[in-house]
């Protein structure tokens, strides 16, 4: 890939994230340095010291081409999104991405919010169990991946595997979504209870 400002090889790939807009920059080493100096200078001029939120200045994540190529191939096993696609669209593919790309997202989120730990409310009912599970609602999000493998198995006419996936989806959905009304969002215990 060529630098966007000259014919040299682009070695810096910069993602700017400003209030939800994502902008991609591919620059050679010289232009990247100029660019980064400029944005720093701009922040200085504005007498706007980056606030605790860090949003007054653009967020910059620079990586070398090799690192990036590797990272871009890393796809979420649930929804299949690659980090490259996320960087282009600015939108994640599924809840599991926060776990799968946690290392990559952490500096981004720290820059946007100036924090990396939620301190607010928890889901009212699901909170009782799910919010205290270290992995949150990850188990339920697992059905996104299971649906994919079921489809793939059907395509390959591996009906045994398709049935296994289907049963696994049903078990999880029963636990999390089963029934209606007040308890519907609470994962039920595997062991039988008095509730019907």
């Amino acid at each position: 890939m060529k630098c966007q400002q000259c014919d040299k090889q682009a070695v810096f790939h910069i993602t700017e994230l400003e209030t939800g807009e994502v902008r991609e920059l591919h620059l050679c080493e010289d232009h990247a340095r100029t660019y980064l100096n400029q944005s720093e200078a701009a922040e200085g001029d504005d007498e706007d010291k980056p606030s605790a939120g860090g949003l007054t200045g653009p967020l910059t994540v620079g990586q070398t081409a090799d690192e990036l190529a590797l990272l871009d191939k890393k796809a979420c096993p649930m929804c299949g999104i690659t980090f490259f696609e996320f960087r282009n669209q600015g939108r994640l593919g599924c809840p599991h991405d926060y776990v799968h790309f946690e290392k990559e997202l952490e500096p981004l989120i720290a820059n946007i919010h100036g924090a990396t730990q939620h301190t607010g409310r928890k889901p009212e009912r699901a909170a009782a169990e799910a919010a205290t599970l270290p992995e949150g609602t990850e188990e339920l999000t697992g059905v996104i991946g299971l649906r994919r493998s079921m489809q793939e198995a059907i395509t390959c006419e591996d009906y045994e595997k398709a049935r296994e996936s289907r049963d696994a989806i049903r078990r999880i959905e029963d636990r999390w979504l089963g029934g209606t009304g007040r308890d519907a969002a609470t994962p039920k215990a595997d062991t039988p209870t008095n509730e019907t």
């Binding site: 939108r91 946007i112 607010g120 409310r121 928890k122 609602t137 519907a184 969002a185």
Partner: protein, 357 residues
Amino acid sequence: MKLDSLTDAVGEWLRGTGPESDIVMSSRVRLARNVAQHPFVSRMSEQDRAEAERFLRERIAAAPVGSQLEYIDVGRLEEIDRQLLVERQLISREHADAQGARGVAIDGLEQVSLMINEEDHLRIQCMHSGLDLRGAWEQIKVVDDQIGRVVPYAFHPRWGYLTACPTNVGTGIRVSVMLHLPALVITRQIDKVFRSLHKISLAVRGLYGEGSQAMGDFYQISNQTTLGKTEEELVEQVGDVVPVLIDYERRAREFLVRETQQNVHDQVSRAYGILRTAQTITAEETMQLLSRVRMGVLLGLIGDVKIADINSLLIRTQPAHLQKLRGVELDTKDRNIERARYLRRHFEGGTSPASPN
């Protein structure tokens, strides 16, 4: 819900009541939520979209709040009806323009709206007239709790509520107030105010019309960050700055009256004159002039117009409302003529606007 009946009321954001409603048009809180068992909206297949829409629609209907809500299938609406909902701030422009299964549930007072399949699976919004962030927050909390009991929101102990865009992750909350700041605009202090707001991590947006040009002197102030602070802290962060802005605007209005009495009187009178006599007028110009007349009324420079009437005109002269009231679809040129006619009829003889029918 009969969409046509919406045009009879002004909607919550222009009701013109509530504390400080001479400057604060409305207070709004919105929460971004996603269900754990589906990909985020931008990565959904058509089938995922339809399933998530049905799941949320049914579970919301089963929640206690469901009985007070009317569900509108936005995907099946005509463009003009989608536009009508945008003008009333019940759905976002993005939601109106999107494709596929999506909808909105709205309460009769137009205070609560729940958008399904916007950028996130669920966007809950609560809007109150005037300055009432606390009231909007208390109301939305109840709705969120009720739905959270029957819908498994995607949640992670570290990252909080998981959202399609990392800019909303954590609380998923956006707290905002819509302010009318004409005197700060006239006295050219508005940019300075905005710069100081950016420094404390607050965002400022103009109110946009058909084009991308900011209309009137209406500005929305909201929080930028959503993670690391509690919802209450974020409500306070926005709430704390509002009295300061109200004070600036009041002082700027006093300054205008004291120092430039004739100029400001001339400006609002001219604005009023154009609104009463124009033969063709755009939505943007109408908004701009109504904004100035609104200030004139509040400063006692125009005696025979009520604030409620100005607020009503602000919404009824917008494109979809205008066409709904006229009962026919009109192109831009005809809309401008119809808008001018509508305004003239309302200001006729200097009396307050009569009912459109």
